[in-house]
């Protein structure tokens, strides 16, 4: 595994989820991405960010950055409007999409851009499991098993890819969300380190 691509979602004119107190998902996930980057680099893992500031690359531009790497892992960071505050959910694309994509896969061995993720569903699910269990150990009320959802950003990434969603911007100020940052970063770094061992040994 050569690199982790961290994706702070939204940005620019798109704030993502907004809380009644004015909290914006796009601001919080950028601060999370910076913390996760530090934790990953401390493990000797190279990191790229899909955005460094308050701008808003398209879904495809973010995927392009990931798809230009070999041996990358993609992690998209989100904060929701809803859900039990202080909990974290980790998502990968549903398994059924793999089966349905097999019939329409191109023969030349090339992955169609709009279904680039489907070849990596199993690996993504494994990564989601590793991250979710780390989150459950740190954030009370979080599930021990990961979730599946058709997250748009993940579909066009041709690498193991997950989305992490923290609840939520509904809190009165950002202090509780900021307090979750170091634990979130440590959880991701430990899970990615475990995934790297599995990934490089060719296992599942």
């Amino acid at each position: 595994m050569a690199v982790v691509i961290l994706d702070p979602a939204h940005g620019g004119a798109d704030p993502g989820a907004r809380g009644s107190s004015g909290l914006a998902e796009s601001d919080i996930v950028l601060s999370y991405a910076r913390l996760v980057r530090i934790s990953l680099e401390a493990q000797g893992i190279r990191v790229l960010l899909t955005r460094q500031a308050n701008d808003d690359p398209s879904f495809d531009d973010r995927s392009k950055l990931a798809n230009a790497q070999r041996g990358g892992v993609f992690i998209s960071l989100h904060v929701s409007s809803t859900g039990q505050p202080g909990t974290v959910r980790v998502y990968s694309l549903p398994q059924m999409t793999v089966q349905q994509s097999a019939a329409s896969a191109p023969r030349a061995g090339l992955l169609p851009w709009d279904r680039a993720q489907f070849k990596f569903i199993d690996q993504s699910r494994r990564l989601a499991e590793l991250i979710q269990i780390q989150m459950a150990q740190r954030f009370r009320g979080s599930s021990e098993t990961p979730f599946e959802a058709p997250v748009r950003q993940l579909r066009t990434v041709g690498a193991p890819a997950v989305a992490i969603e923290v609840s939520s911007v509904s809190v009165p100020d950002r202090a509780p969300l900021d307090q979750m940052g170091p634990g979130l970063a440590d959880a991701v770094a430990r899970a990615v380190a475990a995934f790297r061992t599995i990934y490089e040994s060719g296992g599942k």
């Binding site: 409007s81 039990q84 398994q95 709009d114 979730f147 599946e148 959802a149 748009r152 989305a163």
Partner: protein, 242 residues
């Protein structure tokens, strides 16, 4: 006193008497207007969305999937009395309109109150196409969790009350949208769990057991939808016709 002045005084007196007689009624009308303020949304809905009724309507217990009253991460089936048509398309429209306007409490909503269903079709292969107004996007709480629950509430409500729908395509104002509110992919088709009884569509739908239906984890989705694939997972490469 001249005759003209007398006549004027008589007319004025009559008008004052008439005013005194009608004043209480006017006061009541003003009080009524104050006590029942109509929101812009209600006024628009009255004009735009008259209740759909068809000759085959039968009052039945419909199973509606709104947010759980006890957990913000799951849906609960709730039985309500609803006149539903025997025609699957009209029946689906009635159900989706009720899903928007009949939530028992605001915090149990899955779809924005200001959203409306613009059109609904069912293709011969069992693909339903639901076309919502722009407010389904602009009024939707942003997030993977909330957007997935919104789609699942539509799919499961249709699956529980209409036979023959196998999958669902969501359009926004007649167009394909990339996401519902920034996260959930609207690219493909969403499976509709087959939860409706095999009886004729117009027969009453029995109330489901009052069990919670968690739907956000992969395992829970399977549990909630029986043998059907996980809800809210779009099948790729099957685009609805324009």
């Amino acid at each position: 006193m001249s005759k003209g002045l007398k006549t004027t005084l008589v007319i004025l007196g009559a008008m004052v008497a008439l005013g005194l007689v009608t004043l209480p009624g006017l006061r009541q009308a003003v009080r009524r207007l104050h006590s029942t303020p109509r929101t812009e949304e209600q006024a628009r809905r009255e004009v735009m969305q008259e209740p759909i009724s068809t000759p085959t309507d039968v009052e039945v217990q419909a199973q509606m999937y709104w947010l759980s009253g006890s957990s913000p991460n799951s849906l609960d089936p709730t039985a309500i009395q609803l006149p539903l048509s025997a025609d699957p398309v009209e029946r689906s429209k009635q159900l989706l309109n009720a899903l928007i306007v009949r939530a028992p409490r605001p915090e149990r909503r899955t779809l924005p109150a200001e959203a409306s269903l613009l059109a609904f079709y069912i293709q011969p292969n069992g693909t339903a196409i639901a076309d919502f107004s722009d407010e389904i996007v602009s009024g939707m709480p942003s997030g993977i969790l909330s957007e997935q629950l919104a789609v699942q509430s539509i799919a499961q409500t249709l699956g529980a009350n209409v036979t023959g729908i196998r999958q669902l395509k969501i359009l926004v104002h007649g167009q394909e949208a990339e996401t519902l509110a920034g996260h959930l992919d609207l690219y493909g088709l969403f499976p509709v769990p087959s939860l409706a009884p095999a009886a004729a569509p117009s027969s009453p739908v029995p109330a489901a057991a009052p069990t919670k239906t968690p739907v956000t984890s992969g395992a829970a989705q399977t549990k909630a939808t029986g043998s059907a694939p996980a809800a809210a997972a779009p099948a790729p490469g099957k685009q609805a016709p324009h």
